[in-house]
Symmetry: C2
Subunit: 271 residues, 2 copies
């Protein structure tokens, strides 16, 4: 999917919501556990109930890998289900990968070719030759970790190098990478005020913003500092939506939560 | 496996060699392609031929994920084969993972419980709460990226924060993490002279050293600066061993390369 197509979808749906699929068998409704593939059954119901309220889905790869072969099967079925039934949805493999060149190429093949995701999240620690293999894929997007929403973000990401935080060096340096137009960035919502600074470095890039809701981020603040003239934001909510109810009504409850966020977004898009 | 058991194996085998399993179907002998599971058939032959010359195997997870479900199956079979037949071997999931707390816990379950690896490689960018979930597993080891062997290492890892390189901050900060005794570190062999400095920060930790051979690192130099009184080194070689021949003799050729490295290591252990 091209960035233009993503922006078009945001305008059609009046939403820049991304639904995170972090499926934990201990948290899904118990009646689903008797299904042959409970993870996929859960995802399918959530997707069918929310696809018109969001523009992106973000399966969290760890939650599939933790279930081994069955988990990987559920991941394949989930991404295929989205691509076949709702091809207008942008898909994010939240994988936090990154390795030396030939290994990154293999990860890129796994997520862009074998699974046919539109994008993948990548950690920047290993630098240029760990990121560029992902950028080489046309109409695919590499979402680089810049400033994450967790406490550990302050261990290294905000440390000063020549008077400037490491995450700003990540933003600036990554702009020099080949095919850097295929970059998006992860910026945590718990630090909304940082977004103004970030926008001076990468005014046009899309930002994937986790941490609204469960992690305490504020949607209005994020939009105030982070929105650009192409919207430029994908706001992720995982647990707040998918675990809204543990009963038979889980999909309806998820849709209700998604709808509430979509309506807030519609208001914010009017400004 | 405990660190003591690993050290014991090193002394028994006079080897601190780790064999990297980066299996690319375009590079393995063509006669294996008619096997039902060529990746596993290749790994099994390599493992059977080299297990007495090395102390560790390091499957590179990207090379399995790139083949989807079949790749994940081959990974499961490979790790099971090692654990069942050669339980004295230390196993490393070269996965370069790392995410916020509950997600890291899921990755830890995937590699330590479901697949039963002894260790996993982790990227430090997200800090403490992305690493500690891995450290919580008893007798399992978390191998943190410090200074990698690729060109991109100079993008961020060697940048100065308060007069000290980022990778040294990673070493120092990680020592304060809970259960930090379960940490090992990735340090690239292409920068052997850096090892003296690194040893002043982490004198006792094991270092996983990639980049000897194909990437140009020198074994003697690495040992001179990096060895400690418990040896403290695992030297990885992947392509130099597993792709020593593309013919029917690939396993014997791999053993020959492994033997050459093991003999060098035996000499270096005498010093």
């Amino acid at each position: 999917m091209t960035t233009e197509q993503l922006v078009e979808q945001i305008k059609i749906k009046n939403s820049f919501l991304c639904v995170g699929l972090d499926v934990d068998l201990n948290k899904i409704p118990t009646h689903l556990l008797k299904e042959e593939d409970p993870i996929f059954a859960f995802n399918k119901a959530i997707i069918d109930a929310t696809h018109d309220l969001c523009v992106a889905y973000k399966p969290n790869i760890a939650f599939f890998e933790a279930y081994g072969l069955k988990g990987w099967q559920a991941l394949e079925k989930t991404i295929s289900y989205i691509n076949e039934n709702y091809p207008e949805l942008f898909t994010i493999a939240d994988a936090k990968r990154g390795d030396i060149g030939n290994t990154s190429t293999m990860y890129a093949k796994a997520f862009f070719e074998d699974l046919a995701f539109d994008s993948v999240t990548i950690a920047p620690y290993m630098g240029k030759d760990s990121v560029e293999p992902f950028l080489a894929f046309e109409d695919k997007h590499t979402i680089l970790l810049a400033l994450t929403s967790n406490e550990g973000a302050f261990d290294f990401q905000t440390k000063l190098i020549e008077g400037k935080e490491l995450y700003k060096h990540v933003l600036e340096t990554s702009k020099t990478y080949k095919n850097s137009e295929n970059l998006m960035y992860v910026v945590g919502a718990t630090k909304a005020e940082y977004l103004a600074d970030i926008r001076t470095i990468i005014p046009n890039s899309f930002l994937l913003v986790p941490g609204v809701g469960a992690q305490g981020g504020n949607l209005q603040e994020v939009c105030k500092y982070g929105m650009n003239d192409q919207v430029g934001l994908l706001i992720n909510s995982s647990r707040g939506i998918i675990y809204a109810s543990k009963g038979e009504d889980f999909a309806e409850a998820a849709a209700k939560e998604a709808k509430a966020l979509q309506e807030q977004m519609q208001e914010l898009l009017k400004v």
